[in-house]
Subunit: 466 residues, 2 copies
């Protein structure tokens, strides 16, 4: 019979039964009680510890529930026969060595952020407040797995009149970030599908396809976008392209190339184009280029868009428009994935769109980004000798080629020494041809203030033409 020598602390916050439970459990784990050893009866232990029998009962119950004790009818409580002893010493856990090594930059030509000054914060706040103030049980329910129907209708309307996309609200899947949509797509299409990605291109495609263990081929570009001959040769089934403003080169795919690529899909039944329209809202001369999806009449374009550039990357709202055939497959196979965007955000965004704020915000931002772009281009031409600018007619970044004899790495490094962050184009190549090892940089301008731009470019001059 085990002896239990414990002084219960009646003033402690921990309930008495828990103190007793903890003590006995520790004794069992440490091996101080052996298997099948009998424990004192409730009555006897309660008397010893000067507590009530209920306290002992509660502790014994908990230990039985967890499997440390067993009760035998008309006999009493026994230590369970535990299979193996845990190594309680074990390894020490240390905190992860992973650290974010952020350096101090005065200016960053980042292509990922947006202008924060002009975000309609108070309006967004106001609508959020309205949404959460409507006492609304929908906010607590798991909603439609493809996204809140009202938001999907607003997106369909917007895409139709602003981007020339042909779709119903039903074809839209709302999700969080392009990478999540791509994961869904990989599961929607057959396992043997081969994806063609632009080289250079958006590096996440690469990462997602690799991580999801599907085959992809890097297909080179010419000045109109993905090369049709190289695409044909790649044996790919899905061409992933950014026709409105190629990332990162900035080229716009002309209608002839669009038709060529569409005709390529029509040649085989399971060929598709994945159109990533990531920053199509911003075009500075003329109208925005209409989507490629709008040209398709056979349901071969999967269209992806996001609010990361047009509103904020922190919202984490993106969407995908599926052609009918894939939509039916989605409805059969993938609706167990529940839309990851909280209902409050979805309703807030819907009202923001419905009340016209989104269009107004876009117009305001288009003007602002246009000014920023012009300031950057003018400063480059004025301050940097021989610099070639490309891809600046749309989007939130441009490319810059520098002819001072430095390599891309040297350009980045010397800019860094002058506390300016720029990005090399070569990191966007999944396969880097020798001819492209170069001197081209990617400059985003959305997050810079207009009056900072001349100083930022002057620092680049000091860095590159000392």
């Amino acid at each position: 019979m085990s002896e239990i020598t414990l002084r219960l602390d009646k003033k402690a916050q921990t309930p008495l039964f828990e103190q007793l439970y903890g003590f006995i459990k520790k004794e069992i784990i440490c091996g101080n009680f052996s298997r099948n050893e009998k424990l004192p009866s409730k009555r006897k232990l309660a008397a010893n510890l000067q507590c009530s029998q209920n306290t002992v009962q509660a502790a014994y119950n908990q230990l039985m529930d967890e499997g440390y004790l067993t009760a035998r009818a008309k006999s009493g409580y026994y230590v369970a026969a535990l299979d193996g002893i845990l190594n309680l010493g074990g390894e020490n856990r240390t905190s992860s060595p992973y650290q974010d090594q952020s350096l101090h930059y005065v200016y960053e030509f980042s292509h990922q952020g947006v202008d924060f000054e002009c975000f309609p914060f108070s309006l967004w706040r106001k609508i959020t407040r309205e949404v959460i103030n409507d006492y609304d049980r929908d906010l607590l329910r798991t909603g439609d797995p493809k996204g809140f129907p009202g938001l999907r209708a607003s997106i369909a309307g917007y895409l139709h009149h602003s981007r020339g996309v042909n779709c119903t609200a039903d074809q839209i899947i709302v999700s969080s970030g392009t990478e999540f949509l791509l994961q869904l797509l990989v599961q929607l299409l057959s396992a043997s599908t081969v994806y063609a990605i632009e080289n250079p291109g958006y590096e996440k495609l690469n990462l997602v396809f690799k991580s999801n263990r599907v085959e992809y081929r890097a297909v080179p570009l010419d000045r109109y976008g993905m090369q049709p001959e190289a695409l044909e040769k790649s044996m790919a089934d899905v061409a992933c392209i950014t026709p409105s403003h190629q990332f990162p080169t900035g080229c716009i795919m002309p209608i002839s190339r669009r038709i060529q690529l569409l005709n390529w899909t029509y040649e085989k039944p399971e060929r598709y184009i994945l159109e990533d329209d990531y920053d199509s809202e911003f075009r500075y001369s003329g109208k925005p280029i209409p989507s490629l999806q709008g040209l398709d009449r056979q349901g071969r374009v999967i269209y992806i868009g996001a609010f990361s550039k047009s509103l904020s990357p922190a919202l984490r709202i993106s969407y995908m428009v599926l052609p009918e055939k894939l939509l039916r497959r989605y409805d059969e196979k993938l609706t167990f994935y529940i839309c990851p965007v909280p209902t409050v955000e979805q309703k807030t965004l819907q009202r923001f769109m419905e009340e016209g704020h989104f269009e107004r915000h876009l117009n305001r931002m288009r003007n602002l980004y246009k000014q920023k772009r012009e300031t950057v281009v003018a400063a480059i031409h004025e301050i940097l000798p021989d610099a070639e600018v490309e891809g600046a007619s749309a989007g939130l970044h441009l490319t810059l080629r520098i002819h001072n004899g430095m390599t891309e790495q040297e350009l980045i490094q010397s800019a860094r020494e002058h506390q300016v962050k720029v990005y090399g184009l070569s990191r966007y190549y999944s396969v880097l041809p020798a001819s492209k090892r170069g001197n081209t940089l990617l400059l985003g301008f959305a997050t810079l203030k207009i009056d900072e731009i001349p100083d930022a470019v002057s620092r680049l001059r000091e860095a590159w033409y000392p």
Copy 2:
């Protein structure tokens, strides 16, 4: 030379250049202008249409940008040689046949929802308002890809003191829904990993593994949970289990079985336990059963939890605790997946936890659910003859076995005719043994009101014992 016969509408909302652009584009697409055909000069067309040359220039520029026209130096503008003509008739798009067929039920014994009456709506609103009122640029930035560090620290603290989980904030990955965490895990572990799932078990595991094209085996349970011999025989590498309250049977895994399964992982280097602690907060007698992760000393347990049961499924916030070895791999391979939960939600939840509201809410809900559970169990025993209840000591559902000669399908169907929705246990079997074809139902009680319960159970009596 093409002739352009268009009357520009100077009163229309559409700018003149856009009217002209649209007209020419349509003519080209319809084939009314042939390839290489020359267009009128800007000067001439402007005179004909009685508009400025700038208008014509803008329209021509847009058409050139989109690739419909080309300019030849010192010659003029020509229709581009378009490769192939698009079929503009094409298929008609119809809206998807997918329809949610929700039937009218008076009572639903759903195991998916939570009690909405007691959600601290005004408090949550208040904190959300505070979070969005702090003018805070963080709300617009893409945050830490693994989740907002403050929230991860709050979750680590909660898990440590309430669930006995050993971890630092750094080991926590915040995401949206178990299915998204599982997708990450599938990419984190090697492609040849075989997963053992509980049979019966949570049906989403099944769906996610199948959809992600990895191998899994359904492993049978005994009354302590996953059978170790069957697990060994399955040749699986990762055992996916719900030890705190098995879904759907409700059994609690005793310490002896926990140790057995942990020892199983220690036998080979790449073996893991995936502990899904989905409703562990709710236990009605004694303390909550501590997590299995807390017993592990060699970093072999991946712990998954969520706020779906404890707060609301509409929040879409879940988390995963990775052992050090997998954390390092995650940091190398998967940080391109950005946390899908918006920063506002993450900060709101953090404050909610930090200020003690979460613990208070849990205590309140534990009492409420305890009352509901007792009411359901009492009503069943009182109203339904011979009913066997199991798995009711924790969680938000129980199982009910009925001995009236009806099959599971007949039980569900007759309940449905009395407008009560109950769920059959067999749908949770990925492989259904003949011996289990049966008469067992799953009854969730979180969403029912206490005073509705007797009537709901009376309807079941009318359905099953007419």
